[in-house]
């Protein structure tokens, strides 16, 4: 059985932890598995390298920044292979271009276009553990690319898909995926299982356990992902395909995102094409717009409200003011301190009244809802940021049953 194991920055933070990781890989191998390991940069290393780039150039060139930060994973991959050797286990490190993991040329946020695992298979066939530097690839021209923050998750899942691995284990500094943030909700509990779709919603809603693209990959290629702690042997959370039994749970988790700011263009003349004129300049400035709400009024005008990352608020506001004048809107209103709170669960599709109950719970706490957005498996609301913790706790109390997880199966066994 072939297993892909990915270790994040805190799991390989120093030489001692890298040796601990080597021990875990050794046990997996001793249990009779072939192992491909994917590693991130040692905790703090990527930021150190980015700071060097910032100190060297006012606007660092993206190709060169990629060549720079890719050294972080290269160091960890080599050290992990060295630690395995020292434990008596044959191992070979592989960089993105050695694997090879081919990407497009969008430096800093490249997408994987092709994975060739021939050399990894040769290493495995030779009895070695293959240790791959995560987060990096190579484009058609042979330039080094990186996949963006959390990209090592995507490297791991892509390799697991290409190798047809039994499981892709994501080792992290938490026990798995939780029903909510344990720092805010003490009763939050680890989920035994979660569907790809739920994980996608949770990942994009600010639960920073897995990079979104890695979940998309896992879903597309049906790679079972096991998120678990590198500091314990306990079962973590399996991210898997939906199965009928899962429908019983209506809400899987409560997520929040405090990095939101709200902007409203007031009294936009209600004519076709005006939304495009509002969002064009925002998009060209590379500002990511999240929720968008538009309500046409009877008087032929509409208020257009949306959220942006808090750091882009001032820039977005400046762009909007120019646009508002051009299109004859009344003006701009905005609020910097809002938060998005969401409940996520595949069960929502078949359980009526979840939305109504959510609004009631918030209302009971005196929390005003500013915006609402829904998908098939999630409901998000935007509220005053100061109510974030209160809202998350109240929703967790209301929707997540307090029953603990059943006894976990034996480690390594797939539920």
């Amino acid at each position: 059985m072939l297993v892909v194991q990915k270790f994040g920055g805190t799991s390989v933070a120093d030489v001692e932890r890298i040796r601990t990781v080597a021990g875990r890989i050794a046990r997996t191998r001793a249990a009779g598995h072939e192992v491909v390991v994917v590693v991130s940069a040692m905790a703090g290393e990527t930021n150190r390298l980015l700071a060097l780039a910032k100190a060297t150039a006012r606007t660092p060139d993206e190709r060169e920044s990629d060549a720079l930060v890719a050294t972080g994973e290269q160091v960890t991959a080599a050290l992990t292979a060295l630690a395995l050797h020292d434990a008596g286990i044959p191992a070979r490190s592989f960089l993105g271009h050695q694997v090879r993991i081919e990407t497009d040329s969008a430096h800093g946020r490249a997408r994987i276009v092709r994975v060739d695992v021939e050399r990894l298979r040769a290493a495995l066939a030779g009895g070695a553990v293959a240790v791959v530097a995560g987060f990096q690839g190579v484009d058609e021209q042979g330039s080094i690319t990186t996949l963006g923050r959390g990209g090592s998750d995507t490297s791991a899942v892509a390799l697991a898909a290409a190798l047809d691995a039994e499981v892709c284990e994501i080792y992290t500094d938490v026990q798995g995926v939780y029903t909510s943030d344990p720092r805010i909700v003490p009763q939050a509990r680890k989920l035994e299982r979660i569907t790809y779709d739920e994980m996608l919603e949770l990942a994009s809603l600010g639960a920073k356990v897995l990079q979104i693209r890695s979940v998309e990959f896992a879903k597309r290629y049906r790679v079972p992902v096991h998120v678990r702690s590198s500091f314990s042997e306990a079962e973590g959370t399996w991210v898997v395909e939906e199965d009928p039994a899962m429908e019983e749970v209506s809400v899987a988790g409560v997520a929040y995102d405090r990095d939101e700011a709200k902007l409203t263009v007031l009294r936009v003349p209600d004519r076709p094409g005006l939304a495009a004129r509002v969002f064009g300049p925002i998009a060209r400035a590379n500002i990511v717009v999240d929720m968008i709400i538009q309500n046409a009024s009877a008087e032929g005008t509409t208020d257009l409200t949306f959220t942006v990352p808090r750091g882009d608020y001032d820039k977005a506001k400046g762009l909007l003011e120019a646009t508002a004048r051009e299109i004859g809107a009344q003006g701009i209103a905005g609020q910097l301190d809002v938060a998005k709170v969401s409940i996520v669960g595949v069960g929502m599709r078949t359980h009526a009244g979840i939305a109504a109950r959510m609004f009631e719970v918030l209302s009971n706490e005196g929390i005003n809802i500013q915006m609402i957005s829904t998908s098939e498996i999630k409901i998000s609301v935007v509220i005053d940021a100061k109510y974030t913790e209160l809202a998350v706790r109240a929703l967790h109390d209301a929707f997540i049953p307090p029953t603990p997880n059943p006894p976990t199966p034996a480690p390594g066994k797939r539920p």
Copy 2:
């Protein structure tokens, strides 16, 4: 005109110095030259990475160590390209495998077997400065290799040869090649010119300005090398082919090496094949033997004396003791604190009596000569280490004329 400029670790020790280096490259470019830059790791970085490897594994695997330490030059190459961009100069960084610089698979001490400069030429044709990570290459299997300490010099000269560059400039923290070590001999002066052969002898004799292999490369491909300071605009030392005018100077420099220890196998039976039996085990233990002296006596035995690096003394002695018993030698004698002092100069070939004068100078100072070794352009003696400075100063006084250099020509102009 195409110029290769190599910057060593102290020249790129931090972001500030890298920006200074970018300024110098910019001036070279402004003067109408195409520039290929070769950079070393930031000062201290290679040792930091090697320490990480040592902390991770008792006997670090050489392939993985190479993948690890090669990141040092990768970081500098990317930062240098970033600094050039910031100064408004198009630049592209290249790693060993991107250039590509193909080597054999002798990790940690690989030799360059082929240099393909097509991609560098394309970058130059596109108006960019090509910044190459020194010290590294790639083997036939695609594994990263390194060229050994000082290997960036060799990278630079090899690229200069392949590109048919007008000059290979080696930027360092000294002003050039000196007649002796200025820390010992205050009157030591910078040489204006030195031949490849003299430089080879000086490099191998412990003057650590250039890696020996880089000089071999320069000699073979007739690459003019200009060793100069990265902290000033002054002319440094040109390492060039011999020309008749240079014969006038008999001795170019006085070198020393304190990293020597002496071992003698006493009363070796004087039979064919015994020298091989003595040195076989030493060679298999990867101990580099430097000077070897053998004097057959009338009684059918001989004393075999040689020097090894001081750090290998105990190991070599242990091996010799076993050998001595096997071959019926009387025993082993050794001395840990010896030094080798040498005078070097192409003029020696045509100036008689240099050796006699050297021995006389040392004798006048009361220094006993333990071993003598000569080549066409150098004479080396092994003496008690405590006399090193005294011997070097006395020989410099005796052989190097006190006349200062003539006024230096304009910077960048080849003499």
